[in-house]
Symmetry: C2
Subunit: 360 residues, 2 copies
């Protein structure tokens, strides 16, 4: 078939690809605005080179502990991004035959990480607006080893209601399930403060990548009051990667110390972009949930694999196939890019919708 | 019992502990001499912050390819130290019921990494002088999924004969076994050049930690001509940690570009220290294999757990229990420390051998 599209195999095809030569990237979820200059400054002064503590540098964990109520430095493990935190937690709690409950759409790595850890992902669909339907959750959670919560969500940008999260906490506590709460977008919520899930077996996963624009440096962490789990994670990390790069940790500590205005300014910018892209998509007649946090929208677009391929090869736009997130016939757009590029992207998308797409 | 020693639980107890306050560390295997200044200089100029390619920065892989005959940049994956390379390879080749053959004594992480990957470690003992007995190897290798080679060895410091390595290559090729060749000490051999194992299913694991004193920055890599394996590793790393910290990769590239004299100068120093510690231990009447590379000796010391505890709590010396390496009744001493400290350490060891140790 002459028009057979070259399908993009998955996100790793795009990761690390720049947005030059007229290419507009709505792809990878990474800020275009730079980290605080203090983070780079810290790097210029650093002269250490020896192994660090596997658990992470003590001053960094002490500073993080100030951010969480009743937290202590020993409740944290600094990791190679949130990805490694999730991987280590899953491997540490793995049981043969263990099931892990994922909301759908989900961040594309979750099912892989669950399977790599020797467990089985099971799913429930998010209801209208991207919200957890608690009645449904209550039915599927029993018998699982762990459940994932991801609010604000990648790829939907939606934020879960506090009452729902409280009910989820209570249920998991009663059933003795681990909650892996991926809160990497906790500082990027537009309408309210983040709600920190808590409980005996809650593991909070976070990162410096989104809040401080440090994706490439790979520094994240997990926080848990479950001492036994934390100790298992440290033991495992001793053999699978050792300490997280000390250079990245030095930068992270400097970033944590900058005034709150750094993050506030960014959130204001994300909100403006969100408004622009959301309004622009509604105008194009697309159906999508209104994002309340993070920097993603997930409009419905039939035959999404072909859409992503056509947008890339014919319109020079990177987008991510919803199918990678368990949402076929949807396409994820990250709006972590300049307003002028969002505008140009919308223009190209309009053209695509009026031409190729009508013939699908 | 009043004299019951407080046993040290494992290497993670010591990792990241400094050698201040009179504490002498023969523990962690990390150079005390600093990285090339060019590595730090590169860091001061770096202003990138976005995700890098999961496989690793292209200029770094291109430079590495120059170091290996017939290698191409696509044969490499840059990892969070050699540890992550080993972990990813084992997870990528894992089969239910798979067995992985380890020489004993082994680097302490190998059995854990094999088990974390869902396989089973099996062992054969190194013969006199720390050498592989090929007749024995030939009997135990068939039926395994992979074999580890570690020359120069941590913890013994011994280097395998080239004829043996060639026979191992041929056998594994014939049997279709993966060889995971941990060559992180390849640049620290005192008597000859390193022999690079090669073959269709050979995975060479290496690191910038030892050659360039960059332990804390965590940058290592794997090299393999097995395209399918490399691609599996990249796919897995996309979900388990993403790119290796770009700051660390920038440093590694700068280090690779320094003149060979940097490494030669270090090797000369390691050799002097090796001679000093080896001679000192023989003088104390200890039994040990003469190390030909790396920076470890592994003398026989009965009741090694108690030795390590007593040396730490009573003599302010960090040493590693041979039992952690599959060599009970041995103690590993790293000589990656200043000659004056080696001398003082030998003095303390002499005192210990003449007093406590005689009453064990």
């Amino acid at each position: 078939m002459p028009n057979e599209p070259k399908l993009i195999p998955g996100p790793s095809f795009f990761i690390g690809k720049g947005d030059d030569n007229g290419l507009i990237s709505f792809g990878s979820g990474q800020p275009d605005l730079p980290p605080p200059p203090e983070a780079f400054d810290a790097l210029t002064k650093y002269k250490g080179f020896k192994y660090g503590l596997i658990q992470g540098e003590e001053p960094l964990r002490a500073k993080l502990a100030e951010e969480y109520p009743a937290a202590m430095p020993e409740h944290f493990v600094i990791t190679n991004g949130a990805s490694e935190a999730i991987d280590l937690v899953l491997r540490s709690i793995s049981k043969p035959g263990g099931k892990v409950l994922l909301p759908r759409p989900y961040y594309y790595s979750y099912p892989f990480d669950v399977m790599y850890a020797g467990m089985t992902p099971v799913y429930y669909d998010l209801a209208e607006g991207g919200k957890i339907n608690y009645e449904q959750f209550e039915k599927v959670a029993p018998g699982c080893r762990a459940v994932f919560i991801n609010s604000p969500s990648n790829p939907t940008g939606t934020v879960q209601d506090i009452e729902t999260l409280e009910k989820v906490e209570a249920l998991c506590d009663k059933l003795g399930l681990y909650i892996i709460s991926d809160e990497v977008y906790k500082d990027l919520i537009y309408d309210r403060e983040n709600y920190l899930l808590h409980g005996k077996h809650v593991v909070t996963v976070n990162s410096f990548s989104k809040t401080y624009a440090m994706c490439g440096f790979r520094v994240g962490y997990l926080y848990s009051q479950d001492a036994q789990l934390v100790s298992k994670v440290i033991e495992m990390k001793t053999h699978t990667s050792m300490n997280t790069s000390v250079a990245a940790q030095i930068m992270a500590l400097a970033a944590l110390r900058v005034p709150a205005s750094y993050v506030e300014k960014h959130v204001k910018i994300w909100k403006e972009r969100r408004d622009m892209l959301y309004a622009g998509m509604l105008e194009l007649g697309l159906k999508l949930w209104k994002p309340e946090g993070a920097f993603y929208v997930l409009p419905k677009l039939k035959n999404s694999g072909r859409v992503v391929s056509d947008l890339y090869y014919k319109y020079r736009m990177i987008t991510y196939d919803g199918a990678w997130f368990g949402a076929p016939d949807h396409v994820r757009f990250s709006y972590a890019l300049d307003a002028s590029k969002i505008k140009e992207g919308l223009r190209r998308l309009k053209k695509f919708l009026k031409t190729e797409y009508r013939e699908y």
